[in-house]
Amino acid sequence: MDRAKIHTLQDFIDIDQLGFTYLGSQRDALAEVTMSVAKAEFACILGPSGCGKSTLLNVLSGLVTPSAGRVAIDGQVIYEGGRRIADQMPPLGYVFQDDRLLPWRTVRQNINLALSSAGIGKSEWNEVVTKYLRMCGIEAWAEAWPGSLSGGQRQRAAIARALSIEPTSLLMDEPFSTLDEVTARFMRKELLDVWQRTGQTIVFVTHSIREAVFLADNIYVMTSGPGRVAERITIDVPRPREYEDPHLTEIERDIVDSVLEYWGYYGETGGTKAGER
């Protein structure tokens, strides 16, 4: 478990002293966030509700500009000193907690729009859409309206959309948290499968320790608000991993105490840690 920030040549997403304050608010949402993600890494950001992890993704995706700090993606500086430097954000796929498909367009049309906006030529659309729908297992629902699909199917469509633009990195904000546990487990395996095939860098936000341990190469544990990265935990378990693997349970148990401490559960007010009696 290392706390030091090591700049390596492989840093794909480099975040240095990032801060964010909402307009008109006294409290910072994020403060001095420092972390870096390597290329093709599956990074999980683990934090409690309200720690600013969604804000972090919003910064990476270009939706909001941070108040302080430096962010570079793929060598290109995006933000510095509270200002946006880059004219163009690098291509990013974003999967939200709710699918955010346009309900009045079919699955195929939704993806076509993303492709068109990413500057991909119309002649390629059919092929690309079919490829990624097939990869996500929903090829049969290409012409369906989102409203007629289940939550899991819609999220798969949203993932297919994110992948189809073949982005440098994929941002995912608790994408399975609204699904039932069985569907969510299935989707986690599918996601890992897809990730192995596409080799993209994934930044996956979650509040579930178990989910993070199962999915991640590295877990970046955030404190509760104002959020900062307290620790980076490397999960050395070889892939493919099994969700019920007792080794994962062991790791989860090992880290749960420190994670909960970061999240403010074992303060001066008391509470007993799992290892103590």
Binding site: L63, L102, R105, A114, S117, G147, R161
Partner: protein
Amino acid sequence: MSLRAKRALLAVAVATGVLLTWALLWDRTDWLASPAAVWEQLVATLEEPSTYADLLATSRRLFFGLLIGYGGAVLVSLLVRQSRWWKMFVGPYVLVLLATPSIALALISLMVFGLSDLGVYLAVAGVVFPLIVISLLEGLENLDRGLSDMTIVYRFSGYDRSRHQALPEMAPYLFAAFRNVHALAWKLVVTAELFSTQDGVGFQYKRAFAFFETDRLIVWSIFFVTMVMIVEYGLLRPFERVVFRWRA
């Protein structure tokens, strides 16, 4: 019996009731024509070719008036959404138009633009415009923030954002606004025609009123209502079904 059948039966029952009352009471008044007389007049009017020219003229005026008023309102609403300056600029004009009685707008428009079709178009447009702007602006306030964020992250062009997100999301407001002004616009066209034109339903009303021909008044009212119904059931509802077919 299905709900649809029940509704149809009720409509027929009400219509029959009205007809019966009319048939029984018409000669107790000195102004109401008999159903029979009205029927005769209806048939006679339908056989006159000028009737269709009149109906077409009124429809044309309605169409262009609504096109200008509604189209202008959509454009202005989208502009107002883009920038605060537009909001400040447009605000007072909308309020003034809204506050002016429609008949006054009609007369002013006819005086300014001459007793011509353009005057009628702009009279309708002027009345309809502020009502629609207000409905649409309210709709635009309530756009789903999540979908907007999605379009930003996926780098939709401004045109795509309007066409694929804002406009479809606004569809319920667009239809509701249209229904609000539709009937009003018809009435306004006829009123403007009363003052200015040599053809159209309004002109026929003027004639019937001048000669105190209540049977003609009733016949033209029947035509008028029929036209409104045709637009509602023959055009608007089918269009609405297509637009909202994505709703499960």
